[in-house]
């Protein structure tokens, strides 16, 4: 029998380490492109201030990047450490994008990041600019492969179960690569990173303007961040809608839960703007809804129905019964690989094997499952509705706020009026944590909303964990919590210290400039602009 405490602690540890890792990733994604843009302007115009901007935001990037690397290593090994049955069961498909991430993306980013910091006086201007762009592309390719892996967890395409090896095996690699869920998620996630980078630059620059420091530096940085942020905020919401639309195709339960829609309604369904979902009674205690809207957004049609939570649970019953039949056939095939009859049954029923495994949390001999067991197992297919409902609303509200915020900033910047209204600077400063809040809500929605599945419809989460001891997990969880808390404090202290110190007000590469790299007089004149 599987130990549920171990599973709960393993989930808690994975959630904590993944969400902590993702505090650093979005800033890496966003700042790397902002640095590349600023350095491009430097190379095109030769104005020294743009190099100082690149250097300063690069210093912030470096402090953040170190934490991203440190916490990312953990993610690479945790699947094997805490989710060993998962690793065996889907490693044939899931391992490949992780390895490709290393080969194609992380190597690029990590090799050139050193040169970004240490290569200023060893490379030509163009050479260094190329290095910076390679860092930015490397970081973003990384996200692509990770989201291909994650997309497959949400929508497992291009694979079948092989009874001879007791695992899922890839049949169509292109389907895994061009998984529509992965594509939508990739653009949505990197755009969220760009919003974060832009907001970071806006907030820090606003603080300088409030203090009356580094005015030219801050205004230029804000102008870049405002335009970049506006494009990113539009993209994040539009592509968010795309991933919502894709979710209606693939993860009906997730969308029903995040909209707290308990029963199938006649198309087009109404949307609940505010609701207080009650998990016990399977209804909303209170709801304010707008007719037709959800059906229109979710299905982009007037006639397609969106299934409700209760209706999806009903249909899960049949899938569980099918899954148990597949499981029985699988055992026959394992006992006698030549049993053609059992193989035929398995080949017909295997797509529901995962549903059959859901019963394993109630009894080991699932072939003897009673109707009550099946009902209990079907009920576990409902994720936590109130958490999903509200995290979705927080994320969407923030998404629209970002569009408004960056549109206003872009307007003010294009009229050269940045910093004239002090309250707008305060607003920018206090908006700093909001992208992180939106992003963590987004991941909560995506991953908590995937429950009870590790791989949607294929592998239940509780069935995927390693057989560790309570002592192992208590110790590792404690280590992560203590270590990560200390490092978070140190990171914030160093970031604040760096920001307080501010950008350099002199040219750190004077000797290099004297060699004729750029005329010192021009550089001085430019820095006064």
């Amino acid at each position: 029998m599987i130990d549920i405490d171990i599973v709960t602690l393993s989930r808690l540890q994975f959630a904590a380490t993944a969400m902590y890792h993702f505090l650093f990733v979005p800033l890496t994604l966003g700042l790397s492109f902002l640095m590349a843009i600023m350095e491009s302007v430097y190379v095109m115009t030769g104005r020294e201030i743009w190099r100082r901007m690149t250097l300063f935001w690069g210093t912030c990037f470096g402090i953040n990047f170190a934490m991203g690397v440190a916490t990312g290593v953990v993610m690479e090994f945790q699947f094997g450490m805490n989710w060993s049955y998962y690793s065996h069961y889907v490693g044939d498909i899931f391992g490949a994008p992780l390895a490709l991430e290393g080969l194609m993306a992380f190597f690029l980013e990590a090799t050139f990041i050193g040169l970004f910091f240490f290569g200023w006086d060893r490379l030509s201007k163009i050479g260094h600019l190329i290095v910076t762009w390679l860092v930015a592309f490397g970081a973003n390719f990384s996200a692509l492969w990770i989201l291909i892996a994650n997309g497959w967890m949400q929508h497992p395409v291009g694979a079948v179960f092989n009874p001879d090896t007791m695992r899922m095996e890839v049949t169509d690699f292109m389907a895994v690569l061009f998984n529509p869920v992965a594509q939508a998620k990739f653009v949505h996630t990197v755009s969220a990173g760009y919003v974060t980078g832009a907001m970071f630059v806006m907030a820090v620059s606003a603080w300088y303007l409030l203090r009356g420091r580094h005015q030219e530096f801050a205004k230029r940085s804000m102008a870049v961040a405002a335009s970049f942020g506006l494009a990113a905020a539009l993209s994040v919401v539009v592509l968010g809608d795309e991933s919502g639309y894709v979710a209606t195709e693939n993860q009906k339960m997730k969308i029903a839960a995040m909209e707290s829609m308990w029963h199938t309604e006649p198309a087009p369904a109404a949307i609940n703007i505010i609701a207080f979902p009650n998990m016990e009674k399977q209804e909303n205690s209170f709801a304010i809804s707008v007719p037709y809207l959800l059906g229109l957004i979710g299905t982009r049609s007037l006639t397609t129905e969106l299934p409700g939570i209760v209706n999806l649970v009903d249909s899960a019953h049949d899938r569980i019964r099918d899954g148990i039949e597949a499981y029985v056939a699988l055992r026959k095939v394992r006992a006698n690989p030549a049993d053609a009859e059992a193989r035929a049954v398995f080949d017909a029923k295997w797509p529901n094997l995962g549903y059959g495994l859901l019963v394993k949390q109630f009894r080991t001999d699932i072939e003897n499952a009673t109707p009550e067991d099946i009902t209990k197992a079907a009920a576990t297919t409902i994720p936590n509705v109130p958490v999903l409902f509200w995290s979705f609303r927080v994320m969407v509200a923030l998404g629209f706020y970002f569009i408004g915020f960056f549109a206003a900033a872009f307007y003010v910047a294009s009229r050269h009026k940045l910093g004239e209204q002090r309250w707008t600077l305060w607003l920018a400063l206090f908006s700093l944590p909001l992208p992180w809040l939106a992003i963590e809500c987004g991941w909560l929605l995506a991953e908590y909303g995937r429950q009870p599945w590790a791989i949607e419809g294929v592998l239940p989460t509780f069935y995927a964990a390693s057989g560790l001891t309570l002592w192992d997990l208590a110790l590792s969880l404690a280590i992560f919590l203590i270590l990560y808390s200390i490092l978070a404090v140190i990171e914030v202290i160093l970031m604040v210290k760096t920001i307080k110190k501010g950008p350099l007000d002199h040219n750190p590469f004077q000797p290099a400039l004297a060699d004729g790299d750029a005329l010192p007089a021009t550089a001085t004149a430019a820095s006064k602009l």
């Binding site: 690479e76 690793s87 990590a110 090799t111 040169l115 280590i479 000797p511």
Partner: protein, 383 residues
């Protein structure tokens, strides 16, 4: 369904076994000197400026080097998922100790010199030393335990059960393997420092390097004798179809003392591996003494190549033997990914690995030359 793959399964598995070796050796050679330099930090550098020089020797390259480990992890996952599943869950707390070091190391490099306070800096120096020594030691202990076999078994759904704990890993043979690994990487780190620094740091590194190279030779020989007379190797006792589906329960195996050396009789060319281990370390010892830093560094890399290859070919065809259920031991024939996954990953590796090697070489070329106080002063980004 798998008709699109033009190579047979057996060859693909063999290629991936070799590639796994390439990646692990790549990690040990590239990230290995970072670990060695970290381990030596408080011993070869006394003043703050000296310590900054040592840190800035690896400063521009440690991030890229660490990716060899990430890629190694990813490649094991993709090519031998069962090895990934069994080893990392079985060695859970040992991996946690390594992870602590790997979490602290990037932060240590990056944050140490951001604040001038001597107390702050000396604490981070200790952290960098710890996070150099610990992974070097524990990874060696892990390899020692692989040779001894790990106490794991499977049920009929191929779920892993590990019947051991962290402290049982610390057997005398495994600790010896840990010391081989530590002295090997200290030798390699010292070799880099003699190349990239000058003056007192290089002098101290030379002294440590000589001792480390000597330790490698003695400990590696000792481990060899132990493997021959002290520990049981695993032998297949049934036919394994190298083209069959990956099912580690489809064979039988038994344990015979000294059997890890059987391959050297069957395939005498495999003797090249231990010979390169000894010759490399001996030449590194000569190089340290004769003050030939480039030669020292290259030969210590060859020693690492030889020593890791020795472990790999001794185990062949096993990847991870089981001490409590020898039949469940993982071999490269029955623990790999599907044919299609191995093929796709091979294509990707053949395309990207040469590119990675090319740009890595270019970065080292750009960063060539010794690190000095002057060179650090010129760069506001120096650690």
């Amino acid at each position: 369904m798998h008709d699109i793959v033009p190579i047979d399964y057996e060859t693909l598995r063999l290629i991936w076994w070799l590639l796994l070796g390439v990646l692990l050796i790549g990690f040990a050679v590239m990230d290995g000197f970072d670990l060695g330099v970290g381990a030596l930090l408080p011993f070869v550098a006394k003043t703050d400026e000296e310590r900054r020089i040592v840190i800035n020797v690896v400063g521009p390259v440690w991030e890229g080097n660490q990716v060899w480990l990430i890629l190694g992890g990813g490649a094991i996952f993709a090519a031998f998922p069962m090895l990934y599943a069994v080893s990392f869950s079985g060695l859970y707390l040992a991996m946690m100790v390594i992870l602590i070091a790997l979490i602290l190391r990037p932060v240590g490099f990056k944050y140490r010199s951001k604040i001038g306070d001597p107390g702050w800096r000396s604490k981070w120096d200790m952290v960098l030393c710890f996070s150099g020594i610990v992974p070097a030691l524990i990874l060696g202990v892990a390899v020692g335990n692989v040779l001894l076999g790990l106490p794991f078994e499977f049920d009929d759904t191929l779920r892993t059960f590990y019947r051991g704990n962290f402290f049982q890993l610390l057997t005398p043979f495994a600790l010896l393997a840990g010391l081989v690994s530590l002295s090997m990487l200290v030798m390699h780190g010292a070799a880099l420092l003699t190349w990239k620094t000058s003056g007192p740091i290089a002098d101290r590194a030379r002294t440590f390097g000589r001792w480390a190279a000597l330790a490698v030779i003695v400990l590696f020989a000792l481990a060899g004798v132990w493997v021959a007379y002290g520990i049981g190797g695993h032998v297949l006792t049934s036919v394994v179809d190298p083209n069959g589906p990956s099912n580690p329960l489809g064979k039988t195996a038994s344990v015979v003392t000294g059997a890890w050396l059987a391959n050297y009789t069957t395939y005498p060319w495999m003797m090249t591996a231990p010979i390169l281990g000894f010759v490399g370390a001996a030449l590194a010892l000569v190089g340290f003494t004769a003050r030939k830093p480039a030669l020292t560094f290259i030969t210590s890399g060859i020693a690492i190549f030889g020593i890791i290859s020795t472990a790999g070919v001794s185990l062949f065809p096993f990847l991870l033997p089981s001490s409590i259920s020898p039949n469940a031991g993982l071999t490269l024939w029955d623990a790999s990914s599907s044919k299609l996954t191995l093929w796709v990953m091979l294509l990707a590796t053949c395309f990207f690995l040469p590119i990675i090697l090319a740009y890595t070489a270019w970065v080292y070329r750009v960063m060539r030359g010794k690190v000095t106080g002057d060179s650090m002063a010129k760069n506001p980004n120096a650690y």
